[in-house]
């Protein structure tokens, strides 16, 4: 019984929700279990779930990175812009990635060394980087990338799995090991709980935050390039608004928005819930406002859930205490 104790935790609840959704999907539409649909389910949102992995670190660290979607867009636009000017494609890809490293470094520097709030820094970043993407591409769309690049984004690489999906699972395992099995992961939690305690314990808080933001920018840029390959062309508004979906995934996964607590397992479950929910609704022809609304309700419940759970437990305990006293009175 004790072994299954964690099932009563947030992750346990998410797992139950996930299983309910999967069973419902599988029984309501025959298309759900098809291989291609299971691949599409990930592939349609693959860039966002990759970014959600690093966002988990950032939020546990009690920071936030609102600029990820703009960095995705900017990295793709820089790549497309240079490609249009005839630079070798490898150079364009590298420049796209470096854009992310640089954007992340700017965010990290402002937060760690200048001491500004990450909410403000990355909000400004999201506006600035998006603006730059629009300046580069204006109203145009740039495509016709080399065929191998489009193929990598749109076709399976190994068996039925496209590159981006493989990348996601590899990064997931790396993120899992770093966050939950390494010293670096413990620093992330300790800083998230209290950066003062961390500092007095000899943790180099600034360096950890700096590294996290640089990695966040780099992963976002990489995701932006994957997105460019999947869509086959770039526009200035590509990935607009994706940061909110990424943060939704992380928060629904049980990561406290105030930092310090959370797990990769919870985030994975939350990702699977959102993807399966979207896919199931899509296959049942539920789109538009209703689909968005259901995801929104899920998020509200995820914020309320732990509180409601606590109230219920407290109410139950009170009830039992009263019952107990009542019984004793009767007996006496």
């Amino acid at each position: 019984m004790r072994r299954l104790g964690w099932l009563k935790s947030w992750e346990g609840l998410l797992l139950v929700i996930l299983i309910v959704i999967i069973v419902f999907n599988a029984s309501s539409t025959p298309h759900y279990l098809q291989v291609q649909n299971q691949i599409n389910l990930f592939q349609l949102h693959i860039e966002k779930i990759i970014v959600a992995l690093i966002m988990t670190f950032i939020i546990i660290n009690a920071e936030i990175d609102l600029s990820v979607a703009s960095v995705m867009g900017l990295a793709g636009c820089v790549m497309a812009y240079l490609f249009e000017r005839g630079l070798p494609f490898g150079v364009c890809l590298l420049a796209g990635l470096l854009t992310g490293v640089l954007a992340g470094a700017v965010n990290g520097f402002m937060v760690s060394y200048v001491g500004l709030t990450s909410l403000i820094v990355t909000l400004a970043g999201s506006i600035g980087y998006r603006g730059l993407a629009h300046v580069l591409l204006e109203n145009r769309s740039i495509g016709n990338f080399p065929e191998w690049f489009d193929r990598l984004g749109q076709q399976p690489l190994i068996g039925p799995f496209p590159l981006a999906l493989i990348v996601f699972f590899v990064l997931l395992i790396i993120a899992l090991i770093i966050l939950q099995r390494s010293a670096a992961g413990r620093y992330v939690f300790v800083i998230g709980n209290s950066s003062d305690v961390a500092r007095y314990s000899g943790v180099n808080v600034r360096r950890v935050k700096m590294i996290l933001f640089i990695v966040s920018g780099s992963v976002a840029a990489f995701a932006g390039l994957l997105l460019a390959a999947r869509l086959g062309s770039m526009r200035g508004d590509t990935a607009l608004g994706a940061e909110l979906e990424v943060i939704t995934m992380v928060v629904l996964g049980g990561v406290s928005i105030f930092g310090g607590t959370g797990s990769m397992f919870g985030v994975l479950l939350s990702i699977l819930i959102i993807l399966n929910l979207r896919n199931g609704m899509g296959l049942l022809n539920i789109t538009g406002e209703i689909q968005t609304g259901v995801i929104g309700i899920l998020l509200i419940l995820s914020v309320l859930g732990p509180n409601i759970g606590r109230w219920v437990t407290e109410a139950w305990n009170r009830h039992r205490r009263v019952q107990h006293m009542h019984d004793r009175e009767k007996g006496g």
């Binding site: 964690w6 797992l15 109203n139 769309s141 984004g153 062309s233 200035g236 397992f265 406002e289």
Partner: protein, 374 residues
């Protein structure tokens, strides 16, 4: 902690297994109405000059996919498509699917991909994602689904069989310039454009066409001051219209080639009591514009019928999905009450075919009542 990780890996393994080895049954046909037999072996009617007629009563799953929800013109197009569905006696219900009203254009991609998974017979798209829609549309084509665009095409034409063009884009420019001249009189005057978003392909093409037409001597007295964008949001368009008035005191006309923009600008001029000084024109919906025509804020505007556009789109998609139309140049077909049309090369794009619907209707005090209450 270790147990959690192990459990997680087990869940992952199960999911991967599920993805790799689905029950055999799901691979088989899914017991939905049988696909209509496609007479693909028959020679295309294109060269013989024969007019293709639809055979009613075929069971076809068809998806009608506008840019987003909450825009009246798409509801009208939907009405037209439903009318055609009834006429063609398609027993399958038409699916009207769209991203949320403020969603990014790329939100159309999951809808197309899911429709492909469902194995529908035809998808009718008003494209809101430029060429980024092309890979998903191409995947649908590869799965044997008829893909038709309407209202807004795929720029590269990749993944699209034919585009149902509402009007000739060049004609739009001329119609707008003519209305401006008509409202401002022979002496002309200064005017500004209130458009949708800077990325809106249709509006950009129409404005470009109008700028070209303005070069002609006939329009020499018209001066275009500025182009601003209200992003097809009522409030934003309203603010932009008022900002134009502040910025250009000698402006006499706002030309809005978008139904949201023209209604918002008319409302702004009406509420601020500016209708005597600044008129509004452009492309609008009769039902939304009737009161502004009558009180003189928007004396004249133009539009094509979105209902007809939906109707024609449904006919073409039905014919392509049954295989009666091949989707090649110079094929002719009959589209119910709208008569005979021909598939032609699209002169506005490098690649791609189109069916040109046309023409424009200009609305003013003389015919607005008839248009609103037929």
């Amino acid at each position: 902690m270790f147990k959690k990780i192990m459990t997680m890996l087990v869940v992952l393994a199960v999911l991967l297994l599920a993805a790799c080895c689905p029950p055999a049954a799901t691979e088989e046909p899914t017991g939905e109405p049988a696909q209509p037999t496609k007479p693909a072996t028959e020679e295309p009617a294109a060269l013989s000059g024969e007019v293709v007629e639809a055979t009613p009563g075929q069971a076809l799953d068809m998806v009608f996919l506008p840019k987003n929800l909450g825009n009246a013109v798409f509801d009208e197009a939907h009405e037209g498509a439903l009318e055609a569905a009834l006429e063609l006696e398609n027993p399958q219900e038409l699916q009207y699917l769209a991203p949320a009203s403020r969603a990014a254009g790329t939100e159309q991609i999951p809808i197309i991909t899911n429709a492909t998974t469902q194995g529908v017979d035809a998808i009718m798209i008003s494209n809101n994602a430029g060429d980024q829609i092309a890979p998903a549309a191409q995947a649908a084509r590869d799965a044997g689904i008829a893909v038709v665009t309407w209202d807004s095409p795929i720029p590269s034409a990749e993944g699209e069989q034919v585009f149902i063009a509402q009007v000739d884009f060049d004609e739009t420019g001329e119609v707008m310039a003519d209305m401006a001249l008509n409202i401002l009189g022979e002496d002309g005057g200064k005017f500004a454009v209130l458009s949708a978003s800077p990325d809106a392909a249709n509006q950009n093409a129409w404005i470009a066409a109008m700028e070209e037409v303005l070069e002609e001597d006939k329009y020499a007295n018209l001066e275009l001051l500025d182009i601003v964008y209200g992003n097809d949001q009522s409030e934003e368009s309203y603010q932009q219209a008022l900002a134009l008035v502040d910025k250009y005191p000698d402006m006499e006309l706002i030309m809005a080639p978008t139904t949201v923009g023209i209604a918002a600008a008319s409302k702004a001029m009406q509420n601020e009591g500016l209708c005597e000084e600044v008129k509004v024109s452009g492309l609008g919906l009769p039902s939304e514009m009737a009161s502004f025509v009558k009180n003189g804020c928007a004396p004249e505007f133009a539009l094509w019928s979105f209902e007809d556009l939906g109707y024609l789109t449904y006919y073409v998609s039905y014919l392509l999905a049954t295989g009666d139309l091949q989707g090649v140049e110079s094929e002719q077909f009959a589209a119910g009450r709208m008569g005979t049309y021909t598939i032609e090369k699209d002169p506005t794009r490098d690649e791609g075919l189109r069916v040109l619907m046309g023409p424009f209707t200009k609305y003013n005090a003389g015919n607005i009542d008839a248009a609103v209450n037929p």
